[in-house]
């Protein structure tokens, strides 16, 4: 059989990057340094100041790739742009010409005014710290802790979901009951109970988010698994005596991916809300580093006046734009997946 395949012309850089391995590489290149930078700055030692530099081109490339992949949906592209804007801010914050976010300069300076040799685009807070700088630096913690927590919740939820759905019977009953117990706690109540018990910190937020979201994720994956495991190709794998782990990882997991990715975008939004809200309530991340929830908390205590409302509005709009980004991404992805 002769196949007359045309010799392909040398593909562009972007086209060559459009494969799973390259994308995963870029994600790691962006994400690992940022995570270390936020979670364990001391580990980085002398690399601390340069480690985020390669993440900037990685983020830009990923954005270009993502826009190419989702160009069919305007909504998805808008969502992607919002999310990637904040990702770019997170990785480039150290290199932007910003005032030190923790340095008190001129308290209660309104936006677009100059005070003590500094121009404040968004004004300063009650301690005189630059709000623009705090808003940009503030996205780092929300993004890193939020995404990490969601990822951990997904790994655990998906594993249990696959096991419960595929093995059914006894496994399913135990896992489903445990998740029903957890799901019967209102989310915020569960957060408060866990964080009161463990104490407020980033790591404990991961625990809390996992305990709160993994059961819901498990339910979704379980449902999808129950559906997919009746397909003939799963049947075919079973009839050739494949190990259950093979069936779960190779036959089932790739096919639950679609709905899971959409759900993950939504859940990233919820997690961002949760982290900001918990910090606002005093149960989450601790001062003094800039953080949107903290900014709201501090401003709500001492600046409830019309002329100081920018102190509340800046972090409120920042967090809203990121969540809107996640939600629009989810909507766009769902629209695209339905179109196929």
């Amino acid at each position: 059989m002769s196949t007359t395949l045309e010799r392909p012309t040398r593909p562009s850089l972007l086209a060559r990057l459009e494969n799973p391995k390259a994308v995963i590489g870029l994600v790691l290149l962006m994400w690992l340094p940022l995570t270390l930078y936020v979670m364990a700055p001391r580990l980085l030692g002398s690399l601390h100041d340069v480690v985020l530099l390669p993440a900037i081109p990685a983020t830009l490339l990923l954005y270009t790739l993502a826009v190419r992949a989702f160009r069919g949906s305007t909504v998805a592209v808008i969502g992607l742009s919002l999310v990637f804007f904040w990702l770019l801010m997170a990785v480039s914050a150290p290199y932007l010409p910003l005032i030190d976010p923790n340095r008190p300069i001129a308290p209660f300076t309104p936006p677009l005014t100059e005070a003590r040799d500094h121009f404040f685009w968004l004004g300063t807070d009650m301690r005189g710290r630059d709000l623009l700088s705090r808003a940009i630096w503030g996205c780092q913690r929300v993004l890193v802790w939020g995404v990490t927590a969601t990822t951990v919740a997904y790994v655990i939820g998906t594993t249990f979901g696959l096991v419960a759905g595929y093995f059914a019977g006894w496994w399913d009953e135990v896992i489903s009951f445990a998740s029903n117990v957890l799901l019967s706690f209102p989310v915020m109540v569960l957060f408060i109970v866990i964080l009161t018990y463990l104490g407020p910190s980033g790591l404990n937020i991961i625990v809390a988010v996992t305990v709160a979201s993994a059961p819901a994720i498990m339910r979704i994956v379980r449902g999808l698994t129950l559906d997919i495991k009746t397909r003939d190709y799963v049947f075919a794998a079973q009839t050739r005596g494949e190990h259950p782990i093979y069936v779960m990882l190779i036959e089932l997991l790739p096919n639950v991916r679609g709905p899971i990715i959409v759900d993950a975008c939504l859940r990233l939004g919820y997690t961002t809300v949760a982290i900001t809200t918990l910090t606002f309530l005093g149960l989450g991340l601790q001062p003094p580093d800039p953080d949107w929830g903290l900014m709201i908390r501090e401003a709500a205590r001492s600046a409830m006046l019309w002329q100081f409302s920018y102190m509340l509005l800046v972090p409120a709009l920042a967090v809203s734009s990121l969540i809107l980004g996640f939600n629009l991404m989810a909507d766009g992805l769902r629209e695209l997946s339905l179109r196929d």
Binding site: V187, V189, I192, L195, Y197
Partner: protein, 317 residues
């Protein structure tokens, strides 16, 4: 169908037992008890508490008996309506909780009264004609409002209507007795956030129903469009939103914490948070238990309602 409901009831009871156990166990640690002892006996902190004084305190409170006896005791007390004593507020937890729950119930009533008609209407109008300009506009509004977290909505509304225009009070502490105007901003905040979710679910359900062959059958029977929507589509499309509305109660108990704290409204959520920050163990236990009870009950109502609304289950196949 009675079998299904009974099954659900048993499951719910099991969940309650299990959840109460978890709640009790979590706050039964040594650390918490030491904090309590310090709070009651006075002193300079947990470190300064002598082992002897602590042991005496435990004995005095009847806390030195084995875990399962204390758990049984606690469950027994709770079932008799005795939730213990609040250290921070220095009063019995039962009446305190009842008072706060009532306040939250008022809030919740108005939220639901506004959210349900708004959410359903927007969802139905959008889902009736999937992909139309009307659908796109309404869907965008729904995504937009749900994307702004309660805390941000609260800020925006306060800045505009209270600080800026001065039309409404910024706080809802109700210091001089009940004032309905103070309720407006908290209710609006919760409605804006929640209605979008309901609207999106209703839209999805409606849009799915509209693609079903039986809707085609109804149209090709020559029924007027109104009749197709009201008589055929809604009957099926509203089953899913109904269960969501009931489950929103669970969600409301989460959302209410932020809103009550921000607007200083004396409700259940604020009580829970204050207790958590203070380490007021009996209040946390009681409040959490009540929250779970509300959630579990709403789940049960939603399940039973679903069974009733869906003839496929009602007249079991």
């Amino acid at each position: 169908m009675t079998r299904l409901i009974l099954q659900r009831l048993v499951q719910m009871a099991l969940i309650m037992v299990f959840a109460s156990f978890v709640i009790f166990a979590i706050f039964d640690t040594d650390e918490f008890k030491r904090k309590l002892a310090v709070a009651e006996l006075g002193g300079f902190g947990v470190a300064a508490l002598s082992e002897e004084a602590y042991a005496n305190w435990l004995a005095q409170k009847g806390l030195d008996v084995p875990f399962h006896e204390r758990y049984a005791q606690w469950v027994g007390d709770v079932l008799q309506g005795d939730f213990g004593h609040s250290f921070e507020k220095n009063r019995a937890v039962g009446p305190l909780l009842a008072e706060r729950l009532w306040n939250t119930a008022i809030l919740a009533f108005w939220v639901f009264a506004l959210m349900i008609p708004l959410g359903l209407l927007v969802g139905i109008l959008a889902g009736m004609n999937e992909g139309s300009p009307r659908d796109r506009a309404l869907s965008f509004v729904a995504v937009f409002t749900t994307s702004i977290p309660e805390i941000a909505t609260a800020i925006l509304l306060t800045v505009v209507f209270a600080l800026g225009l001065g039309w409404l009070p910024a706080k809802a502490a109700m210091i001089q007795g009940f004032d309905p105007w103070q309720l407006v901003l908290p209710v609006l905040t919760l409605v804006l956030y929640a209605f979008g979710y309901l609207a999106r679910m209703t839209r999805a359900s409606m849009a799915e129903v509209m693609t079903q062959p039986y809707i085609r059958t109804a149209i090709l029977k020559g029924l007027p469009y109104r009749r197709v929507i009201l008589g055929h589509a809604l009957r099926n499309a509203l089953i899913a939103p109904f269960t969501i509305i009931v489950l929103q109660l669970n969600w409301l108990l989460s959302g209410v914490v932020v809103v009550e704290v921000f607007f200083e409204y004396n409700g259940f959520g604020r009580l829970l948070l204050e207790a958590a920050l203070f380490g007021d163990v009996y209040v946390i236990q009681a409040a959490t238990l009540v929250a779970v009870a509300v959630a579990v009950t709403s789940q049960l109502v939603s399940d039973i309602g679903y069974t009733f609304l869906n003839p496929r289950i009602r007249f079991g196949a």
